[in-house]
């Protein structure tokens, strides 16, 4: 027959389903919210850092520097405009600049951006081919791993591009793109892109018979790697009289996460408040149990139970609630993360669904269980001072 203290504690909790459910729900939501924020922050920061990877400056059309970064490094915003390719190449030749990767885009296929660029873009993110080859001729496409998977693209497949970054209304049916290669997943932004030569982007927007003038060719942006740290100060001055600007990804992302930080701080405070309420709930639950079950506890003393046994039983009840609430919270945060990742992927084509336990989550779980135990240990001390004779005489 199972009658161990953990079993008795479990039965006692089950005997008060509403009280137990309330404590569990409060702790579950509190831990879940904090855990979800930790997961989200980690995922977003990882994604940002992975994609910045050695990009010191982004050269593009004047406008919001943050928008320039979001559009050209992360591909989650519209570009600020186009710039002249010749002008951009002049910046590239500046002695303080080491190298640059041009990007030209403005069309999509099923919501995935078709980006004209050079092979150095793929090399920059250490992406490798899963099958086929990198693009060579105009209208040849090498698909990122996530695009190929989600759209079911295979080598030899063809498609038309649509004007804009998401819309599917204005389709260029006169030019056919062909998939010639598919990349392995790299965990970077290239997973979400359809890569093609720059010429594809230019040609698809030209009328039949129109000749491309090298002097007026436009690109969307150029990702620059500096040779000299002074580039950060010098290059903006050289662009003063042009329609171009350079933005620093590290600074813009830092500014953005700080702004996010205000929101997450408020959310974290709410989550902490809910957790505090849950600990108060466990405290009250154990205290109420001692009052309501004082005759039972006194009875157990007459049957051989020591004060330490009763204390352990009450502590176990609080401990079980804490552990179950914490586990519930961690499960809820994973459910939340799954929902969030689906929304993010649908909106931005980003994968943020890593579900492993973070170091900070282990600390959160440990702290939640410890505080839960403390919240039950304090009222449970009353059981140590239980007057058996008086309690049984009251009955």
């Amino acid at each position: 027959m199972k009658l161990s203290l953990p079993y008795q504690a479990w039965r006692n909790l089950r005997a008060k389903p509403l009280q137990t459910a309330l404590s569990l729900a409060l702790l579950g939501f509190g831990v879940g919210m904090v855990s979800l924020m930790l997961l989200t922050e980690k995922q977003v920061n990882d994604a940002f850092e992975r994609n910045i990877k050695d990009i010191d400056l982004v050269l593009g059309a004047k406008g919001s520097p943050l928008q320039l970064i979001l559009a050209n490094v992360y591909h989650i915003d519209a570009p600020t405009g186009n710039i002249n390719q010749r002008a951009a190449e002049k910046v590239l030749k500046h002695p303080y600049i080491d190298s640059g990767i041009p990007l030209a885009y403005g069309d999509n296929h099923e919501g995935y951006r078709i980006v004209g660029t050079e092979h150095s873009y793929v090399e920059h993110y250490d992406a490798t081919l899963a099958e086929g080859q990198l693009w060579d001729a105009p209208y040849e496409v090498t698909a990122g791993a996530r695009v190929a998977e989600n759209l079911g693209l295979n080598i030899g497949d063809t498609f038309f591009s649509a004007h804009g970054l998401k819309d599917q209304t204005d389709i260029h049916t006169n030019k056919t793109f062909t998939v010639v290669g598919i990349l392995e997943p790299s965990g970077s932004v290239v997973d979400q892109l359809l890569l093609t030569p720059m010429e594809s982007i230019w040609y698809v927007h030209m009328e039949d018979g129109e000749v491309l003038d090298p002097e007026t060719r436009e690109i969307t942006a150029m990702l620059l790697k500096k040779r000299n740290p002074l580039a950060v100060l010098t290059i903006p001055n050289t662009l003063r009289d042009t329609n171009m600007q350079v933005a620093l990804p590290a600074i813009e992302v830092n500014r953005m996460t700080q702004q996010f930080g205000l929101g997450t701080s408020a959310l974290r405070a709410i989550a902490m408040l809910i957790m505090a309420l849950s600990f108060a709930s466990i405290f009250i639950s154990v205290l109420d149990n001692i009052r309501a079950r004082r005759h039972e506890l006194a009875l157990m003393r007459t049957m051989g139970g020591t004060p330490a046994t009763l204390y352990r039983l009450l502590l176990l009840e609080g401990g079980l609630l804490s552990v179950a609430g914490t586990v519930l919270g961690l499960v809820l945060s994973r459910v939340g993360m799954t929902v969030l990742s689906q929304v993010v992927e649908a909106q931005f084509h980003y994968d943020v669904a890593a579900m492993g336990m973070l170091g900070s989550e282990w600390a959160l779980a440990g702290a939640a269980i410890l505080v839960g135990l403390l919240a039950s240990a304090i009222p449970a001390r009353r059981s140590l001072r239980l007057d058996i004779s008086r309690t049984l005489s009251e009955a």
């Binding site: 009658l3 008795q8 039972e296 004779s389």
Partner: protein, 215 residues
């Protein structure tokens, strides 16, 4: 088996000092502690169970010197050597009747031996309670609760059984039935019945009457 000599007890420092008559009870003997309300029956019962400590006198029960034993020793001793049938049947409400019956073994030994489960089965059978083994305490009638309470007090084969007002709310027929069960099931133990019920005087010739002696 039970020896009480010169026992005095006082609740706190301001309470009246209560003096109890001397008496003893041999192994296997049955005796009655008879007294009206206010004569200190419950106090004496709690002293005999080691739940209260006498300020003076000698109190020996089932081989334990109750004034000399530590609280921890008394906790274990109560679970092993004593069986107590309370006036009002108390149970752990979250556990089933058979789990309640097995609780003294779990609390003193940390496990429930299989022979105890067999003994429990036959005891519940004899008490007509076998079909209620899986029931929760609140699902039982008052009579069933009392029989279950008797079963719990006797299952671990205590040396001494104390019964507190076992017949107080029963008519003659049911009172006799309960006492028959107690006598039968506690045949190997020393039985001390604490009561104000004069009907039990004829049943137990060994009777000590408690009188109010407070100072």
């Amino acid at each position: 088996m039970v020896q009480v000599q010169g026992v005095q007890f006082q609740y706190g420092e301001e309470g009246p000092r209560m003096a109890f008559p001397d008496f003893s009870c041999q192994p296997g003997e049955r005796m009655l502690l008879l007294g009206q309300s206010g004569t200190g029956k419950t106090t004496l019962l709690h002293l005999l169970c080691g739940m209260l400590k006498a300020q003076s006198g000698t109190l020996h029960v089932a081989g334990q010197d109750l004034r000399a034993a530590s609280d921890r020793e008394l906790d274990t001793w109560r679970g092993q050597a004593l069986g107590v049938v309370f006036q009002r049947a108390h149970f752990v409400q979250s556990l089933t009747i058979q789990e309640n019956l097995a609780l003294p073994h779990q609390l003193t030994q940390g496990r429930v031996p299989s022979e105890v489960l067999e003994r429990m089965g036959s005891m519940l059978d004899r008490l007509g309670m076998a079909h209620r083994a899986e029931a929760r305490p609140h699902e039982l009638s008052v009579g069933e609760q009392q029989r279950a309470s008797i079963a719990r007090a006797l299952l671990h084969k205590p040396q001494v059984v104390f019964a507190d007002e076992p017949t107080s709310a029963l008519d003659d027929h049911n009172a006799a039935a309960v006492m028959d069960i107690l006598d039968r099931e506690a045949a190997e133990a020393t039985l001390v019945v604490v009561t104000h019920d004069q009907r039990l005087k004829d049943r137990y010739p060994h009777c000590v009457t408690l009188n109010p002696t407070r100072s």
